[in-house]
């Protein structure tokens, strides 16, 4: 059981690196969507006696993270007619290196934490930390609004992984609520992206600095 889980988490960590290294927006969105599907399946492995509620959550997560949100992002991308992140603040190779370093650091760091014995062998905590870090690198290093949304999604995935540690004590409904918030958030961002594009002919968030006051 733990092996399958670790495999999935490893996959998600790999997808983090793909997200960091890809300059084309479609492949970034694809990586995020794949990571969403992978994470969405995890409750099935964690829950020893899955009932219908777990199934509903799994279906909703996979559909939301794997299909609905990426579809919204693709639509925003097409509306804005951009394909590439051209001038990132942190380059692709440096961000890839940072991400890899962060992943290694996360694994090392997780050993220092006072975890419960049943979590000690799993990659849940390092995976969560690595995803949060990846999300931050994307948010800090990229300038296009869509890339930042992807960074935000990966950050949320990291938090979701942490949440899985508590699956026995926290109802999945809480996670479902978070997911709902996120979907609405992405909707709103999709609309804003569209408006920004129409108003400024650009999606470069650096140009929004005049709005700071």
């Amino acid at each position: 059981m733990n092996n399958y889980l670790n495999l999935l988490i490893g996959l998600a960590m790999g997808l983090n690196l793909i997200a960091l290294g890809s300059s084309r927006l479609p492949s970034l969105i694809r990586a995020v969507s794949a990571q969403g599907i992978v994470l969405g399946l995890m409750p099935l492995l964690l829950e020893h006696h899955p009932d219908w509620r777990v199934l509903v959550v799994v279906v909703a997560t996979v559909a939301g993270k794997g299909f609905v949100i990426p579809w919204l992002l693709r639509r925003a991308m097409r509306a804005a007619t951009i394909e590439r992140e051209l001038n990132p603040l942190v380059g692709f190779v440096p961000s890839l290196l940072l991400g890899a370093g962060g992943t290694i650091a996360a694994v090392a760091f997780a050993r220092l934490l006072p975890l419960l014995p049943e979590h000690a062998g799993s990659l849940l905590v390092p995976g969560a930390l690595a995803s949060v870090l990846t999300g931050f690198i994307l948010l800090i290093g990229r300038v296009k609004a869509i890339s930042q949304v992807c960074g935000y999604l990966i950050l949320e995935n990291g938090i979701y992984l942490f949440g899985l540690l508590l699956i026995r004590s926290t109802p999945l409904l809480v996670e479902a609520g978070v997911l709902l918030d996120l979907t609405v958030g992405v909707f709103v961002i999709g609309i804003i992206v569209d408006r920004i594009q129409r108003a400024f002919d650009s999606l470069d968030t650096r140009k929004l600095t005049v709005l700071r006051e």
Partner: protein
């Protein structure tokens, strides 16, 4: 009875505010009538001895109105009425419509507002209403200080005053809010038994001390007093800074005192007294010099109050009572003679258009009234017998001398305090010899001084009134002892002693004898002069062939020796080009004593704060990416702290 009088006073002031713009004479009448009613109320409390208290159901800001006129309030109210009324008459001529067509109208309204709000501060017995009145008084005073707002210096002075006042009011907000939080009510009154309230006194000391111009919190005072119109300077120096003293007296009477409070107050008082007069000696601007004397006199008042607090701590009523009485009486005395001096300075400014002492001189001839009355004020402020300044300082001295025999720690502190008080008096005397000599004696140093003229009756009258009050307290101090006893009993019940101390009786007799002797000597001299006539002769001219008026002692050269002793704190700025070689090309000398605390401490601190804020401000540039980066760093630091075993 008192309620009716106070209502009349408020009515007079409010009506004055309304008609002030259009009708100067009606305003003067209403203001004086209102002040007379207020004075009558205060005097009846001081004479009759019954406190007046009024609990009302009227809510202001959600708090029921609670007014109270006890000995302490009435004492300060008398000073407010005297200086407020005198200033109103003085302003009628000094800041007349003809000279200041725009600001004279505004000045009248703000004057009424200032007197009214100061009176409100004195009578309100609710923390919230006290703060409201305090803030309104600060604002009224600000508008009066900046009446001449076309002068950049007046605007800058007003700004500094407003800023400093708000720092003070911040401390007072904290003080009253904590007081209300700990007692459960904004209502004020004696609460000496709540021992846990004692530490709040430090907040009050900062807030009220800043307003009182206590060293080193006096930074706003010289600028505001010097650049305000003279009747406003008189009010600020005579009454407004006394509100800080009022607060300290009031709350040191009502609240329990933390241990050591008396020592701190007394030490600050000594520092203010000595350094205030040292700074005054270095000034060349007549009104700025008077402003620094306010710092000095506030110091003398606080020496009295501080040693009284020490006596409370040690349970020693005998000498504490004397020190307190001296400090309290000095509040009146300083209010009277400082207002007189500022009126005199205003008269000089009115006649010559200059406050710079090096441009004045020889004003005794054209302005005999001003010169005489200013001289009277100078004698009083220097603490010379037989005038009132000596009476209050004598009481403080008596308290200190008696403390030396008390065989406690106070005995050791009282000796240096008395010596430093003596040094202060001597330096004040030197300073006023300098002022009177440079401004009124000698020959005019400029064309404006040569063209000077005496002021009119409306300016002379208030000066005469204040001068007469100074003489009255000086010659008959015993008459005022019951007033001091009333204030003392309001401060600490049971402390008061209705019979005046014997040395005070003796002092009154000595003063009368001295005054009679001086009068007789003057009369004899006058008779001799009338009989034999005056013979004019040249003074020794040091061998110069053609002496000019510029070859007289200047303000700077007169005080040079003493300012050199205090160069370590005054930091005088001297630019000079000495006359060298056999045929010198030219020579010049320029000196200036800056406000050291402001320029060496507050301004560098402000620069640092501005630089840090500016740097932080640049971090706020609107880039989401960087903000997230700050967030990440913050989280990482917190994680580091937790891992290192720290507590958050």
């Amino acid at each position: 009875m008192i309620a009716v009088l106070l209502l009349l006073a408020v009515g007079g002031m409010v009506a004055g505010m309304l008609v002030g713009r259009a009708a100067p004479r009606l305003w003067l009448g209403l203001t004086l009538a209102g002040i007379a009613a207020g004075l009558a109320a205060a005097v009846s409390v001081l004479a009759g001895g019954t406190e007046w208290e009024w609990h009302s159901a009227i809510l202001i800001g959600g708090e029921p109105l609670h007014l109270r006129l006890d000995g302490i309030s009435a004492f300060f109210l008398v000073l407010l009425g005297t200086v407020g009324g005198a200033g109103a008459v003085y302003a009628h001529e000094y800041w007349a419509e003809r000279l200041h067509p725009r600001s004279a109208r505004v000045a009248r309204g703000w004057w009424s507002a200032l007197v009214l709000t100061l009176a409100l501060v004195l009578v309100s017995a609710n923390g919230l209403h006290f703060l409201i009145a305090w803030e309104l008084f600060t604002l009224s005073a600000y508008f009066l200080v900046t009446l001449d707002r076309r002068q950049p210096a007046a605007r800058a002075a007003g700004w500094l005053y407003l800023g400093a006042s708000h720092v003070a009011v911040l401390a007072l907000f904290a003080f009253f809010a904590l007081l209300a939080a700990r007692t459960g009510s904004w209502d004020l009154g004696p609460m000496r038994e709540h021992k846990e309230l004692a530490p709040l006194f430090w907040l009050a000391l900062f807030g009220f001390g800043l307003k009182a111009g206590l060293f080193p919190l006096h930074i706003w005072l010289p600028d505001a007093h010097a650049n305000a119109p003279s009747h406003v300077s008189a009010m600020m120096s005579g009454v407004a800074i006394k509100m800080g003293i009022y607060g300290l007296v009031r709350f040191s009477g009502w609240l329990p005192m933390p241990t050591g409070a008396g020592w701190v107050v007394a030490a600050l008082g000594v520092a203010s007294a000595v350094l205030g007069v040292a700074f005054a000696l270095g000034q060349h601007d007549l009104k700025r010099l008077l402003a620094y004397h306010s710092v000095e006199n506030v110091g003398i008042i606080l020496i009295g109050l501080g040693f009284a607090l020490v006596a409370v701590e040690q349970g020693d009523t005998m000498w504490g009572r004397l020190a307190l009485a001296g400090g309290i009486l000095h509040v009146w005395n300083h209010g009277l003679f400082k207002a007189l001096l500022f009126f005199g300075a205003g008269s000089v400014l009115h006649a010559t258009g200059s406050r710079e002492m090096s441009r004045l001189g020889g004003l005794w001839r054209p302005m005999p009234w001003t010169a005489t009355l200013f001289g009277l004020g100078a004698v009083a402020i220097s603490g010379l017998p037989p005038l009132n300044g000596f009476v209050s300082e004598w009481l403080v001295y008596l308290g200190l001398f008696d403390a030396t025999q008390s065989h406690s720690e106070a005995a050791w502190a009282a000796i240096p305090a008395a010596i430093l008080l003596g040094v202060t008096g001597a330096m004040a005397l030197a300073c006023f010899v300098k002022v009177c000599g440079v401004v009124f004696l000698g020959a005019p140093r400029s064309a404006e001084a040569a063209r000077a003229h005496e002021c009119g009756g409306m300016m002379r009258g208030p000066m005469l009134l204040l001068g007469a009050a100074c003489v009255a307290i000086g010659l008959a101090p015993v008459l005022f002892w019951p007033v001091l006893a009333r204030v003392t009993s309001a401060w600490r019940p049971g402390w008061a002693d209705a019979t005046a101390p014997a040395p005070l009786l003796m002092l009154g007799g000595v003063h009368l004898a001295l005054a009679a002797a001086a009068g007789l000597a003057g009369w004899l001299l006058w008779a001799r002069v009338k009989q034999r006539g005056l013979a004019r002769a040249l003074t020794w001219d040091c061998g110069y062939v053609a002496p000019t008026a510029r070859m007289q002692y200047t303000a700077g050269s007169f005080a040079g020796t003493i300012t050199a002793w205090f160069a370590w704190i005054l930091h005088p700025i001297v630019q000079e080009q000495r006359a060298e070689a056999v045929l010198p090309a030219g020579a010049s000398h320029r000196s200036h004593t800056p406000e050291t605390v402001l320029e060496r401490v507050i301004e560098p601190m402000g620069t640092v704060v501005m630089a840090v804020s500016g740097a932080v401000r640049r971090r706020q540039h609107g880039r989401v990416q960087s903000y997230l980066f700050y967030l990440l760093i913050g989280v990482a630091v917190l994680a580091g702290v937790v891992l290192a075993g720290g507590e958050i």
